[in-house]
Symmetry: C2
Subunit: 273 residues, 2 copies
């Protein structure tokens, strides 16, 4: 699996991806999931991928090959991010046309998803989530982030912290915490990480760093966040059972007996010890 | 979906389940997922279920019908929790034998999982996770909890807090936080909740409460935990980019060009803005 997250904020874009791929737990490799197309002053495009590695590599290779041919329609000359997302979607469909049937014969799903974000010229920064079918959705100020891959472990902290007004540095911190929670709970996500920060209207990559275990900031996040969670957990009061409402009708539990009608548990039950 | 969690701790057992079922977002119902078999002084068994509701209800109904017949092998006379888990597994297999083919004709997977925990007579409290195939695993002091259903959102806090030495009240608090994170991130998990606490060697249910939005403790968890997370998030320092190692070799990004060989992004890149 993989975990990638991207946020489209008032100040710009933050993207974070891991680099673990696995085909079974004994076949783990490191492949970067983030590809950056940059022409300073004109456009920055960040493409992140999750799913079957052979499929996602095919898509990225075709996009690159087209991008290397001058005058061919490509990520370099598409006039808008929307057109770029359509190009990526069309490329996924090409790979599907070529490979899906053969994969199906081996019982392998056509499993791939992409995040595309960036800014082109006068457009605002935009963020798209592109599905295996080649269709896609765009983020908005109400839903300013997308995740692909092993997304559930790291979603609660994003839901609680991120809004379109979040600063780029805070968003980077939140993305790293989300990644740390995912890595902790799921073996198939792992370091090194690729972190990219793009400041709105800069039309060049602001910061693009590789993060491994020797990175002191991620190490601090890894150690401190868990400790902070345990601290606020300890600060929250334990339930004080004496204050729990006692008027709730006790729920019957199943008692032994032959021929005795067995009643479904009904709503509402407090039985004190 | 559903979310259920059970913990087997030195002090006893804590079980928490939600009550939402859904077949599509426009077909949401409330069904309890926790069934308790209790014969004070002899045994307490807690069975929680996730998956296809028709399957899990069939399993529970058969277990109840057998339990209602005296002298029949059932959850009331099985001598150990292990035998009880085998009974549940055998019952799942019976339902599979009867229903799986018909379900398959409608493209419906045979999807069901169960948590069984409790204590019988002189045995210590035990906790089992029973799969759709009828096989099962048992918790240990290294892995003292199991989850079924929509388990990923609520796993990070369990991973960080719960060990077999956690007290029952702390474990109940942690289970409720885990549930709150899940409810917040996933529509298919919802109140009311069933919370059951069992004190080791009590051989009767210590506490069995139904929790709805009018429960002040859960309301406190719901409000305070999010606020606490945001507070410790704000306390963690943002990345101070000036301290990030600069010696890492810059990673080439893809530049426009025809015929220019396109290089894979290599490990390690810092480009400052």
């Amino acid at each position: 699996m993989t975990y990638c997250v991207a946020m489209c904020l008032d100040e710009g874009l933050v993207c974070l991806s891991d680099s673990r791929t696995n085909a079974g737990v004994d076949h783990i490799n490191t492949f970067r999931k983030m590809t950056v197309f940059e022409r300073p002053g004109d456009r920055v495009l960040v493409l992140m991928s999750a799913g079957n590695l052979a499929i996602t590599q095919s898509v990225i290779n075709i996009l690159r090959e087209h991008a290397a041919v001058q005058d061919r329609q490509s990520l370099w000359n598409a006039p808008t991010l929307f057109e770029c997302a359509r190009l990526v979607g069309d490329t996924i469909r090409r790979v599907h046309q070529r490979d899906a049937e053969a994969l199906q014969q081996f019982g392998v799903d056509f499993n791939a998803s992409f995040i595309l974000c960036g800014q082109i010229a006068d457009e605002p920064p935009r963020l798209f989530n592109i599905y295996a079918a080649g269709n896609f959705i765009e983020a908005s100020s109400d839903t300013p982030y997308f995740q692909i891959g092993e997304s559930k472990y790291g979603k609660p902290i994003l839901d609680r912290v991120v809004s379109s007004r979040t600063s780029l540095d805070e968003a980077a911190k939140c993305a790293l915490i989300s990644m740390d929670s995912t890595i902790r709970s799921n073996l198939s996500v792992g370091l090194p990480l690729d972190l990219l920060i793009y400041k709105r209207d800069g039309l060049k990559v602001s910061r693009h760093v590789s993060i491994d275990w020797d990175n002191p900031y991620f190490d601090m996040i890894h150690g401190q966040w868990g400790a902070s969670l345990r601290r606020v957990f300890a600060e929250l009061p334990d339930p004080d059972w004496t204050t729990w409402p006692q008027e709730i009708e006790p729920r019957p539990r199943i008692q032994e007996g032959s021929g005795v009608p067995l009643r479904e548990p009904a709503a509402g039950d407090v039985s004190a010890d």
